[in-house]
Structures are given as C-alpha cells and as structure tokens.
Amino acid sequence: MSTLKITDLNKRYGNVHILKDVNLDIESGEFIVFVGPSGCGKSTLLRCISGLETISSGTIAIDGREVNDVAPSKRGIAMVFQSYALYPHMNVYRNMAYGLKLMGMPKDQIDVRVKAAAEKLQLTSYLHRLPKALSGGQRQRVAIGRAIVRDPKVFLFDEPLSNLDAALRVQMRIEISQLKDQLPNTTMIYVTHDQVEAMTMADRIVVLKDGVVQQVGSPLELYERPQSLFVAGFIGSPKMNFLHNEHAAKFGAHTVGVRAEHLEVTPSDGAWSGKVIYSENLGADSYIYLDIGEAEPMILRQSGKAPYQAGDTVSVSPKPHELHRFDATGQPILH
C-alpha cells in the first residue's frame, strides 16, 4: 500500500514563488489528475514528487517515509515524460532494461520483467527496434513499459498524450485507464492541461492555479459543486456562462454561473433574454450564442438541431438547482 502525503510544500526559484503551501493526501491506488492552465505549477509539483526538483519547504512522504532528500530512483516512483524521453541509442528492450540493470537485477529476471511488460503493451515484436523506428503511440507505450518494469509504487505522468494526434490520444487515454485497472495497488498521478482527460480518467482531480490548489475532488464534484469561480470556469466544456450586474442581482449574487447544458428556452419572460448571434450545429447537439448584454456571449446547448436564426430573440432560464451563485470574492454562496 502506498500513500503519498504532501504537507505545506513550497517551491521557489529565486524570487519566483511557484508552489504555495500545497497540501495533498493521496490514497494508495488512486488515479489523481493535476489540471490547470499552463504555468500553474502542475508539472513542477509532479517533478517535486519525482525528486527531479528539490522543494523549498514542506515535506513529501511516500508510505509514511519522508522522501525530501531521497534520490529519485530510491523513491519508488516511475515517470513518463511528455517527450517520451526514450534513450535514442538503445532498442526497446534495452530502454526498458536499463533501470533494472542499474539496480543490479540478474539478467534472467530482467528478461522476464521486460518481456512481461512488452506483452502487456503489445510491444513484443518491436523489442529490437530503435525508438526512431517506432510510431508516436508505440514510443509512448515503450515509455510506459519502462515505467512498469520498475514496479513503482507511484506512477507519474507528465502530459504524456500531448504529442499525439487526436485519435491516438483517445486510444492511449483508454489504454492508460486500462493499465490502471491492471495495477490496482499503484498510485497514478497524471498531469494534463486537457480537462477532458482529467474528467474521464481521474478518481480525483486537483485543480491548480498560480501554484495554489484550488479544489480537490472527484470529477463530478468539481462539475457540480465548484468551490470557486476559477474551478467553475475551468471545468466543463463549453465554459460555464458567467453573468454579472443586474443579470446576477436578480438571484442575489455578485456573479452567477450556469452551464450551457443547464439553460432552457422558455416561451417568453425567462430569467434572461437576448438576440441569437449565431448557432453551431454539431449533429447531436447545437450551441447557440446569445447576446444578452454581457461582454461574452451566453452559450446555450440544445440537443438536436437548433431552429434559431441569427437575430431571433430567445428567452432562457436556468434549470432548477443548476445555478451557481458567487459573491464578490469568487466564493460560492451556498443555498
């Protein structure tokens, strides 16, 4: 069993304060996703856990053992890098065997482990190829294989899918989720800026912004009960509509947020009304952009085809209990 506990972690580069008082408790076997806009410190946090970066203050403990000063290779972690970071001069087999060889593991044991990992990742017929002779998805699998053979307690992924094309990304996303099911006792920490990856893969999501943890929770918790304006806007696609001034005042809040899928068209006298700017038909759904006098258009999501033309006036209301109210500081007002 392997828990990861981060207490009051701070990371500074000179005067730049990258991570601020991060506290996290990660249970054994969890799939955790760090998500946030670029520059929020999510990759730095991952690198601190791996030991590739030192921390300025606080503690990181794996299985109750403080690992602040433990070398990366001794922390029981394995990491998959964004660029795969395969050793270009070694074939697939040697890429995976390298770490085991350094551990001083006997050759026959290395062979068993590497072949088992290759089997699991469908790499058996590529073992003697150099990385440059592999496709992007295969390279990614080798990188994962190199991590698996180490039999780590904690698996770290640093934006592993961002170099792949869209179709392959979906496929690898599924493969990584399946891998998680095969390794039930292994904790996985996954960094991404793609909230779809975060929503689909995570047991729990950690949302970061400017080096501060904004909210930790299951994907649905974040979607249904965001604890700040930032999380409300960051999770969900299309972005949550935010309304201010008199639009919000009628609900007794500084800002109200309502998701595109939680807006209903009413015959007239809805909560808000505005002119259709344009509408996008995606087949199963359509997005209608309304100008209700806010800086940004309000987006309304309807199933099926949208019957509206640009210029039509549409009146909408939020579905009951699907309205998020925030005060002037961005904190939610609870019902």
Partner: protein
C-alpha cells in the same frame, strides 16, 4: 601603406565585379540564346525549356570547377607524375622513389612519428574537449574558461610554435632559465632540461602544441552536441537510478557519438598534414621528423622533386580513407535530416 590597402580593396572590388558580371552575363546569354516564343510551337518550346534548366547549373558551378581543377586536381596528377621521375623530373624511373622511401630509415621514423601523432593528438583533443564542455556548463565562470580555451584556435601553427618555444626554452645551467617549463623544474629544485632534444618526449611536447590549439575546436563542437541532448533523457536516466558518471557514459556519450567521430576524424586529417609545428620547433631534428616535413625537405631543400612527390603521394593515400569515410558520414547525416 594606405595606398596598398586601397589597391587591395580595389582588386577585391574588381574581382567581385568580374564574377557578378560573369554570373549575370552568362545567365542573360543563356536566356537569350534559348529564348522561347509563343510562335515556336509546344514541342520546340518544351525542349528549349528543358535544355535551359539543364545548362544553367553548369554555368553557375563552372568557375568553382575550373579553380578546383587548376589548384587541386591538376597538382595531384602532376605530383603523381613527378613521383615516377628522377630528382629533376626528367627521366622516368618507375617506382624507384617509392622503393627508396620504403627502404629509408628516416622515412620509417617519420611514418612512425606520424602514427604517434595520429593516435595521441585526436584522442587527447576529444578527451579534453569533452571534459571541458561538460564541466564548463557547471560553473559560473565556465563561459570565460571556454573562451580562453578556444582562443588558441585563432593562432597560426607557426605563431603557436613561437609561443611554445619560450615554454620549452633551455639555457645553460649557470644562466637564468627563460623557459617556463624549466623555470618550474628549477623552482622545485630539479635540473633544467633541453626538452626538445630528448627523443620521444620531444615529439610529445610538439603534440602538446597541436592539442593546445585543437582542444578549443573539439570543445565548441562537442559542447553544442551536448546541449542538443534532450534534458528529459537525462532525467529519465536519473529516475532509472543512474549516477552522474553512468549518465555521462551510457546516456550522453552514445547520443553524441556521431559528433565525436566527426571531430575525431577532422582532427585526424589535420594531424596527418602536420608540418608547421615540427618545421618551426625542431625542423625534424632529434627524431621528431614527420612525413609532411620530410616531403618539404626533399622537395625544397634537397631539390629532389621525385622523392618529395613520392612522400606526398604516400601521405595522400594515407589520408584518403579517413577523408572518404568522413565525407560519407557527412552525406549520411544530410540524408537523414
């Protein structure tokens, strides 16, 4: 003085003007002579178009080809011819000059010395260059150190030799030692030595000069190659449990192996041609002779163009495999990019 500078500038301007005139004029003439007009019909005009595109590259590389022929290809064949003639280039003597060379102890001595240069200089240049390239990135004064190490590259071999003559200089024991090496030796209570007259050691001391000059070259190229290594592969190795030394030898060196070979062969070619340093320091005395200097002595001091040319041809044949290999590698590198 000013007049000379102006004159030189004028010559440069004229030369450039001639070449611009040549390229422009030749191009114009080609377009003019193979002009295509709507009246000539499809087939004829296509034929002319094709002919034009085929001739144009030749027009542009012609000057370079001509100069290469005059200054490179012709001398090779002339040297080959001279090596088969007697000392004045009058009577055909078959391979007698080569027979002489392979039976001459001084020739073998020179060849052996060349071999020593060949093994030691590139190896030490690459080793030191690599060491400096790796270490200089870790200290704040690394940039200054690299600049200082690179500077000898700008000094000519003869200039460097003059500098090092002072390093190795020897005075009789009762006089003040002006050479820094002897100054150090005497400061520690040792006897001053005539360094350049001690066989084996003196050859090595001459090699040091070339190493001093070429380490900067190796360092700059290898430093660039090291920067090209993806940082993430090094981090991955660190997570895999490799220490600094293991990372250096099993992750970094293999990734820059191609560059190391190129640097090695480039220095090898320079070493095979080494002449100036030996000429300026010992002139081949005290068992320091090398083939290039031997060739020079036979051709220009003894006036025997036959023997000199034979040595030149042997030297060329020795360099050839390295050259071909180097060019092939360069082509392969181009093909993969």
């Amino acid at each position: 003085m000013l007049q000379q500078i102006l004159y030189a500038g004028l010559m440069v301007a004229i030369a450039i003007a001639i070449f611009i005139g040549y390229f422009w004029g030749a191009n114009w003439l080609l377009d003019r002579m193979l002009v295509t007009a709507p009246a000539m019909g499809q087939a004829a005009s296509t034929r002319r178009d094709r002919l034009r595109t085929r001739i144009r590259p030749w027009l542009f590389i012609a000057p370079a080809l001509i100069f290469l022929t005059v200054y490179l290809v012709y001398p090779v064949f002339e040297t080959l011819r001279l090596s088969l003639f007697d000392r004045l280039g009058q009577n055909f003597v078959w391979f007698r000059n080569y027979e002489w060379a392979f039976g001459d102890p001084v020739f073998w001595q020179s060849a052996l010395n060349n071999l020593g240069w060949l093994l030691i200089v590139p190896a030490l240049c690459v080793a030191f260059g690599l060491l400096v390239a790796v270490l200089a990135d870790r200290v704040w004064w690394g940039g200054v150190a690299k600049t200082l190490i690179f500077m000898p590259m700008a000094i000519s071999f003869v200039g460097a030799s003059v500098i090092w003559r002072f390093v190795y200089a020897y005075r009789a024991e009762d006089q003040d030692q002006i050479g820094i090496l002897n100054a150090i030796v005497t400061a520690f209570g040792g006897e001053p030595q005539a360094w350049l007259q001690i066989p084996f050691l003196n050859s090595f001391l001459l090699m040091v000069i070339l190493i001093w000059i070429q380490t900067g070259f190796a360092m700059v190229i290898l430093s660039a190659a090291l920067r090209g290594i993806p940082q993430e592969t090094i981090e991955a190795a660190r997570i895999d449990g490799a220490n600094e030394v293991q990372i250096f030898f099993t992750i970094m060196i293999p990734q820059i192996a191609g560059t190391i070979l190129v640097v090695w062969t480039t220095i090898t070619i320079i070493v095979l041609k080494v002449f100036d340093i030996v000429y300026a320091m010992t002139n081949g005395e005290f068992d320091t002779q090398v083939l290039a200097n031997l060739m020079y002595r036979w051709t220009f001091i003894s006036g025997d163009t036959g023997r000199g040319s034979a040595i030149a041809i042997i030297l060329m044949i020795a360099v050839l495999p390295v050259m071909i290999w180097n060019i092939r590698r360069a082509r392969m590198a181009e093909a993969t990019h």
